[in-house]
């Protein structure tokens, strides 16, 4: 069982080593990186390449650790008791299974994605320590222990909005997805758009990396934005020359809306264009 990347996902060597280590030693893998470098997609692709089911648990600021295990639906039980429903006598009827339970129960050892763990409260990872370590937990209401038959592959992503506690980190493997270099980027583009013109790609990549080098951008464009932009370029059927035209008017690249996500950045580029025009005169 080895992860080698898929036809839709270019995995660098260090990423493969980290993923395989996590699979073999059955520990969670924590993935960090700039937004849009394919952290969430990674879990999907691991599931696909290993032929496993993917269970996604998306974390929000209001998510509590208990919700991943199970929830006791007290309100429906209360209602049923007032209506005289027979189900009310068995408390197990009101235990709602969470994503972790679902993953533990699945015999096929699925891939469990805990997405954006840093969105939750600071204590959230600590509350999951034992559960992820031993892959078991105790249900107080029914007095039973749920234990993973086969340990699922756990992928955790973080956008670095909060620091994670040391005790939690010690139990994980860690991988930081670096921004891909131009060569890897060409591979990634080739995987997504196999029949795009080579010249268009190289022009677009040049422009893209130039843009990333511009200082003072609020949000640098990332891989997913590049892919969107290429899709647009293809849809508009722009010739590669349109990208190369270095005359001042086009210093703001065509269809920049896919790359620049806030008006300050667009403004910055327009200003640069203006300055270039003055210099050119």
């Amino acid at each position: 069982m080895k992860f080698q990347g898929t036809e839709n996902y270019v995995a660098t060597e260090d990423l493969m080593v980290a993923v395989n280590a996590a699979i073999t030693l059955q520990r969670p893998l924590l993935v960090k990186g700039e937004p849009g470098t394919g952290k969430t997609v990674l879990a999907e692709e691991i599931a696909k390449s290993l032929g496993k089911k993917l269970i996604t648990w998306s974390i929000k600021s209001t998510t509590r650790a208990q919700q991943g295990l199970y929830e006791y639906d007290a309100v429906s039980r209360l209602r049923d008791s007032q209506l005289g429903d027979a189900r009310v006598h068995d408390i197990a009827n009101y235990i709602v299974k969470g994503k972790l339970w679902e993953a533990f129960e699945d015999e096929s050892a699925p891939v469990l994605l805990i997405d954006e763990i840093d969105k939750a409260d600071i204590e959230f990872p600590n509350d999951l320590l034992q559960e992820l370590d031993r892959m078991e937990f105790f249900v107080y209401e029914t007095q039973e222990t749920i234990k993973a038959a086969n340990r699922p592959i756990v992928i955790i992503t973080s956008n670095n909005e909060k620091e994670l506690p040391d005790a939690f980190l010690r139990r994980c493997f860690f991988h930081y997805i670096r921004f891909p270099d131009a060569e890897t980027m060409t591979e990634i583009v080739a995987v997504h758009f196999p029949d795009i013109q080579k010249r268009l790609v190289s022009e677009a990549l040049n422009l893209f990396y130039d843009m990333r080098d511009v200082g003072g951008l609020k949000k640098k464009p990332s891989t997913s934005e590049l892919l969107d932009w290429l899709k647009l370029l293809m849809a508009e059927d722009l010739p590669p020359e349109a990208l190369r035209a270095k005359d001042a008017k086009t210093a703001v690249p065509p269809l920049h809306g896919a790359l620049l996500k806030n008006e300050q950045d667009v403004h910055l580029f327009e200003r640069l264009a203006f300055m270039a025009r003055r210099e050119g005169r």
Binding site: A21, L25, I122, D181
Partner: protein, 395 residues
């Protein structure tokens, strides 16, 4: 196995624990390292490093520790890194250099001359080199080498995609700028400050209290809905900012800090002072002469439950702190130290954030005095410093 490496990591302040070390050994035993140095590097990195801020330090330790081993094992020559064909260099330079830069090279004696010197130095150089101003290496000021800042420099080996020599991945130190003592941005500051949050329920009861409802329903025998107020961040912060003079150097980072705290805390009060707090503080720098608030009033207005955070470089003449009349701007009846002491007596939780780099503190008498006055609660304006500060304020 690898225990020397483990201790070196600890020395380099990469937070590693025994557990991670054992995990690494387990992984190696399971054959995950493939008996290849590069795979071992990736594996060790995934196991031992848990924060991208530490990646750079890890790379350095790894490079230093396994240097000899790698050379023996793979027979790769140290000079190999610098052994780049001239043709390739030329191509690289043509790609990267602008016309202006090319003109500068001409000024240095032309391309040929530069290449000649480069070759000569390559021959002289026997090992990999870091820093310095003559040898080819990394992060130096010599015109040759990577990551340097000599304006007329030639970048060698920075375009790594063409030059993927496997063993040298860690030598690239790609994670350099993620070290936590360097960069600080609004978002990062917010994350650091978030530690200060203290949740409390105040205000109108507008949230369903489910456990309360259940308990009370069970007790009453009918559905008895209970409400409770929403949770809010209840921490109160009073900030004093040093403004003007020597603080001008730090204005950007202070602005970032200011905008971060402004959105992060609901109860935030701020005042300005110059160099050292005396009898008056002000809220608006344009009206600082006319609209001063007495420091006594500030102490009386804000309760002891406010956390006092003073931001300043504390770089001034020592007299400005210790002597009456020491202020550079006006005649102060009482010394700055007296006013500092009054503030500190009232506000139990207090800290001083100093944008000046920590290793400079010992060379400034005034910083030393302030440090003593604060009883050591002075922290550098870095993420790590803010972390220590929030820890102190939360105690």
């Amino acid at each position: 196995m690898f225990s020397g490496f483990f201790y070196k990591l600890k020395e380099a302040r990469v937070p590693v624990s025994l557990r991670e070390y054992l995990t690494l050994l387990e992984a190696v035993e399971k054959g995950l390292a493939n008996c290849a140095v590069e795979d071992f590097y990736y594996l060790a990195r995934a196991t031992l490093v848990k924060d991208e801020r530490h990646l750079d330090r890890f790379d350095q330790v790894f490079g230093a520790h396994f240097k000899g081993v790698i050379n023996l094992a793979d027979g790769i020559d140290e000079v190999a890194e610098a052994d780049i064909p001239e043709e390739w260099l030329r191509k690289l330079a043509e790609k990267f250099l602008t016309d202006k830069e090319k003109a500068e090279i001409e000024a240095l004696g032309g391309w040929e001359k530069l290449m000649e010197t480069l070759k000569q130095r390559l021959e002289e150089q026997k090992g990999r080199h870091q820093g310095g101003n003559k040898w080819i290496g990394t992060a130096g000021t010599s015109p040759f080498g990577a990551y340097g800042y000599n304006p007329e420099g030639v970048r060698i080996g920075q375009d790594k995609s063409r030059h993927r020599r496997a063993v040298k991945v860690w030598d690239k130190r790609e994670f350099k700028n993620l070290d936590d003592s360097v960069e600080i941005g609004t978002r990062n500051i917010k994350v650091a400050l978030r530690r200060l949050r203290k949740w409390a329920r105040t205000g109108a009861a507008d949230e369903l209290d489910l456990p309360g409802t259940i308990t009370s329903t069970a007790r009453q025998g009918w559905l008895d809905v209970q409400m409770r107020p929403e949770r809010h961040n209840a921490v109160k912060v009073l900030m004093l900012f040093d403004i003007g003079g020597s603080m001008d150097d730090h204005i950007k980072v202070c602005e970032e800090l200011f905008s971060a705290v402004k959105t992060e805390f609901k109860h935030l009060e701020y005042y300005y002072f110059h160099n050292c707090p005396y009898e008056g503080l002000w809220k608006d720098n344009a009206r600082r002469r006319t609209d001063q608030v007495s420091t006594w009033d500030v102490i009386r207005t804000y309760g002891a439950d406010y956390k006092l955070v003073i931001v300043g470089d504390a770089t001034m003449s020592p007299y400005e702190i210790t002597y009456p009349g020491g202020s550079v701007e006006h005649w102060n009846q009482e010394a700055g130290a007296v006013w500092m002491q009054r503030l500190l007596d009232h506000f139990e939780h207090a800290a001083w954030i100093n944008p000046q780099a920590e290793n400079w503190w010992q060379y400034h008498g005034s910083i030393q005095i302030m440090y003593k006055l604060m009883e050591g609660r002075m922290y550098p304006l870095t993420l790590e410093g803010l972390d220590r500060m929030t820890g102190e304020l939360n105690r």
